[in-house]
Amino acid sequence: MTATRQAGAPAMRPHQRDHLVEVDDLKVHFPIRAGIFQRTIGTVKAVDGITFDIRKGETLGLVGESGCGKSTTGRAVIRLREPTSGAVRFDGTELGNLKPGPLRRMRRRMQIIFQDPYGSLDPRMTVEAIISEPIDTHRLARGAARKQRVAELLRMVGLDPKYVTRYPHEFSGGQRQRIGVARALAVEPEFIVCDEPISALDVSIQAQVLNLLMDLKGRLGLTYLFIAHDLSVVKHISDRVAVMYLGKIVELGRPDVMYGGPGHPYTRALLSAVPVPDPQAERRRKRVILKGDIPSPVNPPPGCRFHTRCWLYERLDKPEECRTIDPPLRAIHGDLEAACHFAEEALKTDVGVAHIDERPVRRGTPVEALALAAPPKGVPAAKEAAAPAAETTGGTSA
């Protein structure tokens, strides 16, 4: 199906009203140049034909290892990167056809938060200047109104507005990431690409920023594309999860379904590799150790790109179609889609899910102690946050 489409003229699926972002057969290739004439000697196929939608108000998690193309996908979706081919539609409008003016107006509706809170803020700008910049670019407010808006945004992300005259170096990593969030929110976007927003932060700070992002989503009705390499984080925040490997989506579905029984052997290998903070589960788990490294996206393996490292391929005695036919994403069970010829075989194993059992998850704070806990203090934005936090403690889900 995907293979028969002409590059540059993708067969577009009809627009659905509840889909905010629709991506059709997106490809992003980078030329490798060498020599004095900078001749192209090869192409890095960073993203190589992926199709997915993001529904309004949804968080789509995009997970994969380094070099799988997840960040490039995130950038191409908001057109920070020109796609090589394929289409990206935002709210029904094809971004590739837009002239600069309308594209800029469209950009106001989509924003991005970056991984590195140190590299993504200009060290010579005050917090006020950083957050005002997009407000000025899109001429949203001026003078006193702009000042007021900056203060409001800072409060929204849990920072004290009195810090507006400070510079990024005066803030910790977590606080800088809050500034990055405030900057993204300044233009009142509907859609935010979160590109590894918590990877550079310490454990306790990660949870703070994660809670903030979930809070804001609920309050402002945002839609997220949440890119991360951490499967636990993606599971926690996402309504649906897409797993990428070497420029392709190999599995897509709801996290409870996918994590309970993934159809793709790569997803299973990933799950089996994630350490769980529970010594008993760790001892019980069956780890599939994938051999070797991820192959180069310049020369991806023929057929299924994962077959060179696939444990199921070995177990099934190296079936030929894995080497010759690139498996398309197909429905496995329920909403779950996987790109594997032998997904049904993968489902029969307990690889990657062996450590999941019926025991309640042992969290940190003992239930008896919770009653003694003082309400969280200090952060101004915590007022709204305090109530739901108290309900969901102790590991029970809301």
């Binding site: 290892e65 010594p279 589960a281 780890r287 704070t365 946050a385």
Partner: protein
């Protein structure tokens, strides 16, 4: 060079350690391997401070712990908690100035490392104690072949011939799972992927059959499938060579899977220490609770909000005489602000915590 010139401490000093913990760790070591009972490493009241223009930073403040022969001990904490400086202090690798080990004793195989001559410590590093650091690209020299770099410690410490050293290097590369080892001796670090470089680092660390492996965030820079490979390798080799491991990590999941015991560090102090089962099943320190609560987990149904630890770790310049976690602790009472609790026993011999609230007379049972 001459180990006999070093002051060797006598055995009985062990008895001075608090609360019978010394014997417990040593007994556990004896159970694992009766031929090698006792402690390989004993750190007592170790303090390493950094003298900066802004004041004295107490990066490691009166830290005491033990490590049995062949044991894997985790040192868990967030950035700035002092876990890396602890490891550096053990081998006297703290940059001086600005840092200085201001007090304490470090017994390695009953030798006080802090009293050794510089040459004595050099004999320890690389030979008795191997290192693996977080970033294999910056810890390898880009201008030297990996064959040379692995052979360096072997030639230095084992006094093997060129040929003997070469064979040993090939054997090591095989052991750490680098294919076609013989052909890769003349390759440079940039020709290896991140995971392969970390394997080279492990080969260097294990080249002289060390008694202790210091692994400082060995997999933090790696992808999760590569991390699994490296952790498995460390586990397998440490068992095979009966090497004790001090594993420094911020990842509680890694600690749960790799360690027999875990020390949790916060603001330069050990705030809790326990066997791995005890720590995860019955933690007795609100900071440990907070760490566990703030992790999104694979083995959990998707759950709304995470309980977080509010605020940030304190500055370690002139910390007040109070529990260092109290400003962020939701259970803190006046006593927590008035004095710092000691690391005292909780239930089993190997379980200790630094908390007023969970002490027997405290307000959390």
């Amino acid at each position: 060079m001459d180990a006999s010139a070093n002051p060797v401490t006598d055995g009985p000093t062990l008895i001075e350690l608090p609360a019978g913990s010394a014997s417990a760790v040593a007994r556990a070591a004896a159970e694992r391997d009766p031929s090698r009972p006792g402690n390989l490493l004993e750190v007592r009241n170790l303090s390493t401070h950094f003298f900066t223009p802004d004041g004295v930073v107490r990066a490691v403040d009166e830290v005491s712990f033990e490590l049995g022969y062949g044991e894997t001990l985790g040192l868990v904490g967030e950035s700035g908690s002092g876990k890396s400086v602890t490891a550096l202090s053990i081998t006297r690798l703290v940059a001086t100035p600005p840092g200085r080990i201001v007090s304490g004793e470090v017994f390695f195989d009953d030798v006080d490392v802090l009293k050794l001559s510089d040459e004595g410590v050099r004999q320890l590093r690389g030979k008795e104690i191997g290192f693996i650091f977080q970033d294999p690209l910056t810890s390898l020299n880009p201008t030297l072949t990996i064959g040379y770099q692995i052979g360096e410690a072997i030639r230095e410490h084992l006094k093997l011939s060129r040929r003997g050293a070469r064979d040993r290097v090939i054997e090591l590369l095989d052991k750490v799972g680098i294919p076609r080892a013989r052909d890769r001796l003349t390759d440079y670090p940039h020709q290896f992927s991140g995971g392969m470089r970390q394997r080279v680092m492990i080969a260097i660390a294990l080249s002289c059959d060390p008694k202790l492996l210091l692994a400082d965030e060995p997999t933090t820079a790696l992808d999760v499938t590569i991390q699994a490979q490296i952790l498995e390798l460390i586990q397998k080799l440490s068992e095979e060579f009966h090497t004790a491991v001090l594993l420094i990590t911020h990842d509680l999941g890694i600690a749960a899977g790799m360690c027999q015991r875990v020390n949790v560090m916060y603001a330069g102090r050990i705030v809790e220490t326990a066997t791995v089962n005890e720590l995860f099943e019955n933690p007795r320190m609100p900071y440990t609770w907070g760490l566990l609560d703030s992790l999104p987990r694979l083995d959990d149904i998707r759950g709304g909000k995470l309980r977080t630890i509010e605020g940030m770790p304190p500055l370690l310049i002139d910390p007040p005489d109070a529990c260092r976690f109290n400003p962020r602790c939701v259970f803190a009472r006046d006593v927590c602000r008035e004095g710092e609790p000691a690391l005292t026993q909780r239930g089993s011999e190997l379980h200790m915590a630094r908390c007023w609230a969970t002490q027997p007379d405290g307000w959390i049972k």
